[in-house]
């Protein structure tokens, strides 16, 4: 799984994980050493996932607000489709 450069989503042997927990945080970056006056909000997500062997790992990532909106929109699309399948 780590760092593979194979094409995505076509390989049947692609290891998939189950989502165990989804946590989120909305933060505001106020200042940094490269920019004293930042004022930008961001969303941090922490995922807890388990692979087929039951091994659990956590992954976190950060999104800007526009990235989050896109993420949310895609999930809504997925929900709409999975309902109709």
């Amino acid at each position: 799984m780590e760092g593979s450069s194979e094409p995505r989503l076509d390989a049947k042997s692609q290891v998939t994980n189950q989502l165990i927990d989804f946590q989120w945080k909305l933060g505001m970056a106020v200042s940094s050493d490269s920019c004293r006056s930042l004022k930008y909000p961001y969303v941090t997500v922490m995922l807890k996932v388990a692979d087929h062997s039951g091994q659990v790992k956590t992954k976190s990532f950060e999104m800007t607000i526009p990235q989050f909106q896109n993420f949310y929109r895609q999930f809504k699309e997925i929900a709409a489709i999975i309902e109709t399948v």
Binding site: L9, Q18, F68, I81, I82
Partner: protein, 188 residues
């Protein structure tokens, strides 16, 4: 020679070069490169303080995250200073900031993000058919692939499987995030 430095055409190029160096961390933009490309008639000992002045101004503007009113006030103050800038130069700087502000800010934001960023999201929905005894159970499954990566590092791919229940659970969480964002963005 001072007249050479007051010319406005090369100033735009200079600001671009400074932005590339300071904000986008593009390597190889040296003082000598900028001088020889943009101000070849100006001797290095005269160019150096001029470059420092422009770099300082650009850094102040970016660091202070100035809106356009603050920018105008700041630049006007610079024109009135001893050894400051001309009003033509102020106009060039103003124009430059207005067109590059978003990109520069984005770059600065990325520089202060040390966690993974979400670089991409791909998904598909499969209709999974299971056969137990003689009945066929049809369970749709969403396969979602997240492309994650830290600044300057290679992407990592995380592939997740969701059934309908799980998708809706996540959706509910995402709507909570959205609500929080709305609350945050509301004018005080």
């Amino acid at each position: 020679m001072a007249g050479e430095l007051e010319g406005c055409k090369p100033l735009s190029g200079l600001l671009s070069g400074l932005a590339q160096d300071n904000f986008f961390r593009h390597p190889g933009i040296t003082e000598e490169l900028l001088r020889s490309q943009l101000y070849p008639e100006v001797p290095p000992e005269e160019f150096r303080p001029f470059l420092a002045k422009m770099r300082g101004i650009l850094k102040s503007i970016a660091s202070g995250d100035m809106d356009f009113n603050q920018l105008e006030a700041f630049l006007t103050a610079q024109t009135k200073k001893q050894g400051g800038i001309t009003s033509d130069q102020a106009a060039v700087i103003s124009k430059f900031w207005k067109s590059h502000k978003t990109k520069i800010q984005e770059s600065l934001m990325n520089q202060s993000r040390w966690d993974n960023g979400l670089r991409g999201l791909n998904w598909r929905v499969d209709g999974k058919s299971q056969s137990r005894h003689s009945s066929q159970i049809h369970t749709p499954v969403a396969i979602i692939e997240l492309e994650l990566g830290k600044s300057g590092q290679e992407s990592e791919y995380l592939c997740l499987e969701f059934d309908e229940v799980k998708v809706n659970q996540v959706l509910k969480k995402l709507s909570e995030v959205e609500e929080s964002i709305s609350t945050l963005m509301q004018p005080a």
